[in-house]
Symmetry: C2
Subunit: 337 residues, 2 copies
């Protein structure tokens, strides 16, 4: 079901990405994007006594690193937009304690990188703040424990399952057009539920949401896939990516296969132990705040449509027999001449 009515928001003042930072865990640092990460941790404990505290520290590191790369301090940041997968978004809210900065806590599951960048950019575009931070994180160990099984069980994983990325990403977004990359348009996804109930097949739950948002975005802006150097989905993984292309082709007559890539497919490269690929807020955080921003800054990429995808999955509601709804928020990044 699609009710289109100016869902795309144009950012006429073109908020600028001052900087971004990607902080990665061990397995992620062993993948093909290591060189694009600002920090690579060899121990997923990040020197902390719990996985939750480790994730909190990873997120704080990414915010500190991005702020420093922008030549700023926390005192220069007027708002922080952040969320994560942990119950009560603790990585986000605990990492920004007592900093005297306005905080907007978000829940968009794995779509949070796109979601936080969208909100942050809109606040800058409207003049509500001059400089803001968008950030998110996930951690394999804290997520498995919360959403599936304790790692100690040593559960077998199905081929469609995805590995939650241990990583955090942060963007500093502001009003001065001093940087090459800016946010040109955003779209907030609607919640789509196709009735998928398998929590080991998030790609299938998220693909319809990604298709819906991408189709609406292209239709409203009268763009075609080839207008972009890349249409990048958050973390559909291999299974979800195939489904996305199929849905877009069959239901909307849109062929994105020439320009599509997916953070979940990219992050671990040919590592066969991760099944269908990566997932989690940290997945698109690492790929976009690390690799994509560098490619845009160098002019290797110029127009990237980033659809952050999130499965709004609750273990409790799943046990009650409910299906898994999903959402996809879109950010259009462009490189200014």
């Amino acid at each position: 079901m699609r009710i289109t009515k100016n869902r795309v928001i144009e950012l006429k003042n073109r908020p600028s990405v001052y900087s971004s930072a990607a902080c990665a865990g061990k397995t992620e640092s062993e993948g093909p994007y290591r060189e694009y990460f600002d920090m690579c941790f060899e121990d997923d404990g990040i020197g902390e006594c719990s996985w939750e505290k480790a994730e909190e520290k990873l997120l704080l590191k990414s915010m500190e690193c991005a702020t420093e790369k922008a030549g700023l301090g926390f005192d220069d940041i007027e708002m922080i937009f952040a969320g994560d997968l942990l119950n009560q978004c603790t990585a986000s809210s605990y990492s920004v304690r007592n900093k005297g900065i306005g905080f907007a806590g978000l829940f968009g599951a794995c779509s949070t990188m796109a979601y936080s960048v969208a909100l942050s950019s809109l606040f800058v575009n409207a003049g509500y703040v001059d400089t803001s931070v968008a950030a998110t994180s996930s951690h394999f160990c804290s997520a498995e424990k919360q959403f599936r099984y304790p790692l100690e069980y040593g559960c077998q994983r199905t081929p469609s399952s995805q590995r939650t990325v241990t990583g955090a990403g942060a963007y500093v977004i502001g009003k001065n057009l001093k940087n090459r990359v800016c946010v040109n348009r955003v779209l907030f996804g609607s919640v789509i539920d196709y009735g998928i109930k398998d929590s080991s097949n998030m790609g299938a739950a998220m693909a319809p949401a990604a298709a819906d948002s991408i189709a609406i975005f292209l239709e409203e802006t009268k763009k075609c896939p080839e207008d972009y150097d890349m249409i990048l989905t958050g973390d559909l993984g291999a299974v979800g990516s195939s489904l996305l292309k199929e849905i877009l082709k069959n239901e909307y007559n849109i062929d994105i296969s020439g320009v599509h890539n997916d953070c979940g497919v990219m992050i671990y490269g040919n590592n066969n132990s991760v099944n269908s690929g990566g997932s989690g807020c940290g997945c698109s955080a690492l790929i976009t705040a690390g690799y994509i921003m560098q490619q845009l800054n160098k002019g290797i990429l110029n127009k990237v449509l980033f659809a952050g995808t999130g499965a709004l999955m609750s273990p409790l509601i799943s046990l009650q027999g409910e299906s898994i709804p999903a959402i996809a928020h879109i950010v259009e990044f462009i490189g200014m001449e």
Copy 2:
């Protein structure tokens, strides 16, 4: 610690509250504000098979009711801003499935009514949307089960504990100045942690955050408490309200005692079984979307400073020995002549 730098955002286009709706559970409907609620349910199950589904339905009812009162349908709504206390904010995301409306999922614990109204108003003010919905909910049974103990244990409650309100509230906010009440200013709180570890004393955890936001708001706008008909805090309860007044007086030399009220103190009236009062997103949702909006519309109140307070409490992180941070988001409602 306070770093003030234009934290208050002025809404020059004065987004208008088209309507609001309050849907209440059984105990709440037996309190002194029954007449201000749009729906009163005699059974907290709301005809559903789980407490979580009951909360989802309550939230949906409040959104439907508010939209109808505004003379609109869901097709006229361009964005929904909503959040709740359930893990993965399921009441919010499940209630808006397949409606084709952009959705922003929020986590601000019990501050979510003020938080969602603030974001919703800012989107309207900037012209990003013409009409939007802000909504939130909580349910005594789903919250007790998730945050404390299963109700079946029959635990004794301490005098400082608060009862999570079963209720939902929704606002329709738009650009046309056709209604009397508008949103004039907002402030996003920062996360404040005074080291409180007692999950049965949320008032103490939240009072410092409320004091911080109120003090910054009054300082930046050069207002004094008497400029308002009411300074209304979200759900500090009796214990937290006393602490708030003490902190404001001792640390900031601000005396709000002549104009202060608290949704947590108000909601259950003299019902002694609720200890320190009400709490939960539904608490300030019922009081503001029900009682306060009616008083503003009638001109009995004209200027209300609403500080939604939230304890960002996680049972898991609490078990790891951590304290409970809190946040307070502020919305300034004014009645136009």
